[in-house]
């Protein structure tokens, strides 16, 4: 039996730990998930800052197990979950693009309580089983790893290409680990010594902002989220090259669209990605995200976890929501 109430990190203008929230009641097509670990993402911090309107339980990166579901065979299964829930009836959903459904909900982001909690609910169809060889500490990266892979879904990369990632934070590090697998000539713009060390450890070449060559990269992925990073990315992409935008920006950015036309640059907005290939890469050990873990705190210290995640140079902060077997956190103490 599940308890009636649970702990969760709740955002209502400001974020606080609540212990009085009812355990969610899943709809017939949904499952109740007991959360093991959850990861803090820049989007969580942006939501706290009021960048998007959201009121409810935060968090969308998680691994857990199915505690209750109408599909009895799946109870107990260790799972990760796709965060977008489409209406199933609009043109986008029917065209197989539920992540772009105009009335979608999104775990911990849009009209759906999230993963910084003991329990969450999601449609069974959103929950993918996690192969045994993937630890909880690695599985919790499935969602951001899928987001990194989305660049390759939208713009496949060949081994003969020159690729630049701008930004070596949480997402930039995952992008580097994924793009490395293509055999492309990859460089990553990294500012902080800790970021550079992580790239070196992963066999990826870093480059200082000032050393980025003009107009030479076939693909540039902007993952810094700042106007400065965008300017570097725009400058670095070759004529008729591709600039993929992985981060959101505050407000509008002035852009010389004429230069974009003259240089025939393709600009790609890129967001959520496919979970299945992310799980395959994790299961095969081709991507190891665990060196990015800086700190792991219990759910009761959730507000402190968000504060740690804000520190410049901090990589991944995990929140232990208590549902998993005790595992070594594997933190590197980076940042």
């Amino acid at each position: 039996m599940q308890p009636a109430t649970m702990q969760a990190l709740y955002l209502d203008r400001r974020v606080r730990l609540r212990t009085d929230l009812p355990v969610p009641e899943p709809a017939p097509d949904e499952a109740l998930v007991r959360v093991h670990l959850a990861g803090v993402c820049a989007t969580d911090l942006a939501l706290v800052d009021g960048y998007y309107p959201f009121c409810g339980v935060l968090g969308h990166e998680f691994v857990g197990h199915i505690a209750a579901a109408t599909a009895a065979g799946r109870v107990g299964q260790r799972v990760v979950g796709e965060i977008n829930v489409g209406c199933g009836q609009c043109a986008d959903c029917l065209a197989g693009r539920p992540t772009q459904c105009g009335t979608r909900t999104a775990l911990g982001i849009r009209a759906r309580d999230g993963a910084f909690a003991e329990y969450l609910r999601l449609p069974l169809a959103n929950l993918l089983p996690v192969p045994d060889q993937i630890s909880d500490a690695a599985a919790v990266f499935t969602e951001p790893l899928a987001a990194a892979l989305q660049v390759l879904v939208q713009r496949p990369v060949g081994p003969g290409e020159r690729v630049l990632v701008v930004g070596a934070g949480r997402l930039g590090q995952l992008l580097a680990r994924v793009l490395r697998l293509t055999g492309a000539d990859l460089e990553v713009v990294a500012r902080h010594p800790g970021q550079r060390q992580l790239l070196e450890d992963a066999g990826v070449r870093w480059v200082a902002e000032t050393a980025v060559a003009d107009a030479t990269y076939d693909l540039v992925v902007e993952a810094s989220g700042g106007p400065g990073g965008f300017a570097i990315a725009r400058r670095a992409v070759r004529r008729r090259g591709t600039l993929a935008l992985k981060s959101t920006y505050r407000g509008e950015l002035a852009l010389d669209l004429s230069a974009l036309v003259v240089d025939e640059v393709t600009l790609i907005g890129s967001r959520c990605g496919p979970f299945a290939p992310a799980l395959r890469l994790l299961a095969q050990g081709l991507v190891d995200p665990t060196p990015l873990i800086c700190e792991q705190l219990p759910l009761a210290q959730g507000p402190a976890a968000l504060a740690v995640a804000r520190r410049p140079g901090t990589m991944k902060v995990l929140i232990d929501c208590g549902g998993g077997a005790r595992q070594a956190a594997g933190t590197t103490g980076c940042g």
Copy 2:
């Protein structure tokens, strides 16, 4: 024998007819072309307005015949010409992208005298023979038709897609005629009665600005060149759709890049295109651009031709440079 001097429309801050210009002397790999007809394009008007720095003979859309060349077999051949001349040695040229060579010259646009003249010179490799079944009046559209086709080079269109062209001016009309061939569900935003009539005559559905549906088009091609047109295009493209930019804009445009990321829109800058398919479509009669001709004036009235091209709603204005057989102009008197 060629004469020693020639007539040409010369831009040097202001544009004027000159009769004292020396006939160009082609380099060993170049040909001397006697121009028959040339077309006035928005880029010519922008150059006159000082939008780009250029000093020299204007004009880049032309049909003519080879008057002199080291390749004697080609003398007399009727030709159109690719306007960009790459250095042949940089990474872009060696990768087969001479139109993106950083030190390229471009006929009547960049460090190379243009086509509003009795004679011009271009590398033989740039000059494509024009099949007999294509009239001069149609062949002069090869360059802008190739530019319209470039959208399909960069983003092929399937027959099941919804496509919107914003703008029904010179380029919008050619885009409509090319995109119509894909079988896609095509609409074109048109303001002026004359533009609408031309679309109807070509079997293309036009739509008023206010009637454009939000976020429903798989591909939107912006060919209006104005911020208003860009706003319509941005609004019309569906999530995860493609927005192709065919026109240049004055100054910078403020753009909500975050919305681009969240909606996963792809923005494509698109400029010059391939001549060979343009000639195939013209030869097969699949595209007939001649209804777009509004007026044809002799080179001696070049300044007047530019003035006519500026009038709102004016389609194509041709300049008769005198080298061709006298043909019926086929003007519709549109505008």
